[in-house]
Amino acid sequence: MGAKDLNFYSMLFAYLLLLIPIGILYITKVKLIKESILSVLRMSIQLGLVGVYLKYIFEWDNILLNIAWLFVMIIVSTFSIINSNGVCKRLFFLPIVGALAISLFFNIAYFNFFIVKISDIFNAKYLIPISGMLLGNSLKGNIIATNTFFDYFKNREGEYFFTLSLGASREEALKPIVKESMKRALRPTLASIATIGLVSLPGMMTGQILGGSIPMTAIKYQIAIMIAIFSTMAISIFLVILFLKRVSFNKFDVMKKYIFIKGEN
């Protein structure tokens, strides 16, 4: 049993719905019309390509290919984190890839093995979509955490220097900054976990119900995935910040100056 397929006319009607927000943007003279059309176009092309790709990846179900796909997702996420901070790619690429990979592989293996209880934990049908959810949701948190961390050094480096001058070690001086970064990153997810069911029925659950699952099964999956998302997010943020702390400072405990210089990217 699966969800009812959407034919050509269904999709046409879906795109027609776009005329209403575009109409509103036109009337209110909000200059977002071009951006709206481009965004929807981009999404359609990306998802179209992924659709084709996933069709084959599910058919072939080759472990190496599946893992390679996870690395593609990890690398895209890494660039997205680096670009959102405008920091040096050369310095941060490997640490962030490493942090995301460790947290993703641990959580997806745990989820598939202990929760879904499938023997083949690299089965494409489970591995790819669930990893996508874990990584996609952690990405937001990692962007907030790293932005908080680097913004502190862009705007309040003097405070850090003062703490060092009070006798704090680098680790001691960074502790409040790390705490603040983690708190800011995790809070929105905790808030959304707390309102799930009341405000929104999450995508995974909706998808499963449309796909024919009974609501109770969909709900159990949703609970498990939310906890796994929170775990992936917490582990990845913890590791990303841990690795950033290692590579961002010189031997004088000062943040390396070329981190923020554009030419060094």
């Binding site: 003097g158 220097f161 001058s165 006798g167 409040p176 031997k251 004088f252 405990d253 000062v254």
Partner: protein, 203 residues
């Protein structure tokens, strides 16, 4: 003794220091006197190892400042920047947090002596129970001075410490520092320092 030897520093195309040298004896009080943008604050950061000059060296008590001894050297210096800021908590908790740092573990917290120091700095006793976020700029500066005194620092680097104070306090704080035994290096645009009898380094 603090020795700066042949310091060279450029920010992009702008030359800040060219073969700048300076020797400061123990206990000496000096005022760095140069127009804005000429690197006065940068010089303090160079002494602290927060800013690496393009070339030249900093020697403190016969030791060349390096990655190996930077922590030890910072442990001798009180660095009070102009926009001093504390994490949000009770003043007393903050002081105790500072004393809990690994390198300050040998200094114990004695409330009576801290209250005595508050008095010396014309701060009321109940400042300790106040939240750091409710302190004025001048109060923050004086709490900073108090903590550095608790930490027994031998050299004080003062970056515009009097700028947030009213004229009465400016006079009080300058006199407070000038009476101290420690070495004092001041960066300030305040007239009150200019009028005092201390060595002025001009560039």
């Amino acid at each position: 003794m603090i020795k700066l030897e042949n310091i060279n520093l450029r920010f992009g195309n702008k030359e800040i220091f060219s073969d700048f040298s300076l020797t400061i004896k123990n206990g000496e009080k000096i005022l760095l006197n140069a127009p804005s943008g000429k690197g006065k604050s940068s010089l303090l950061k160079i002494i602290m190892g927060f800013l690496k000059p393009d070339s030249g060296q900093v020697i403190i008590e016969d030791k060349v400042l390096s990655a190996q001894n930077v922590k030890e050297i910072r442990g001798k210096i009180a660095y009070l920047p102009q926009d001093i800021s504390f994490p949000k908590m009770k003043v007393e908790d903050f002081i105790q947090n500072v004393l809990a740092y690994e390198s300050n573990k040998n200094i114990s917290y004695n409330r009576d002596s801290v209250e005595g120091m508050l008095k010396d700095l014309i701060l009321p006793k109940d400042t300790l129970a106040q939240d750091t976020s409710s302190l004025s700029g001048g109060e923050k500066q004086r709490i900073g001075i108090l903590i550095m005194q608790l930490l027994n620092r031998e050299i004080f680097l003062l970056d515009e410490v009097t700028s947030a104070l009213n004229s009465e306090l400016k006079v009080f704080i300058t006199n407070y520092f000038l009476k101290m035994k420690q070495t004092i290096i001041v960066v300030s645009h305040d007239e009150v320092w200019q009028e005092k009898d201390l060595r002025k380094v001009v560039w």
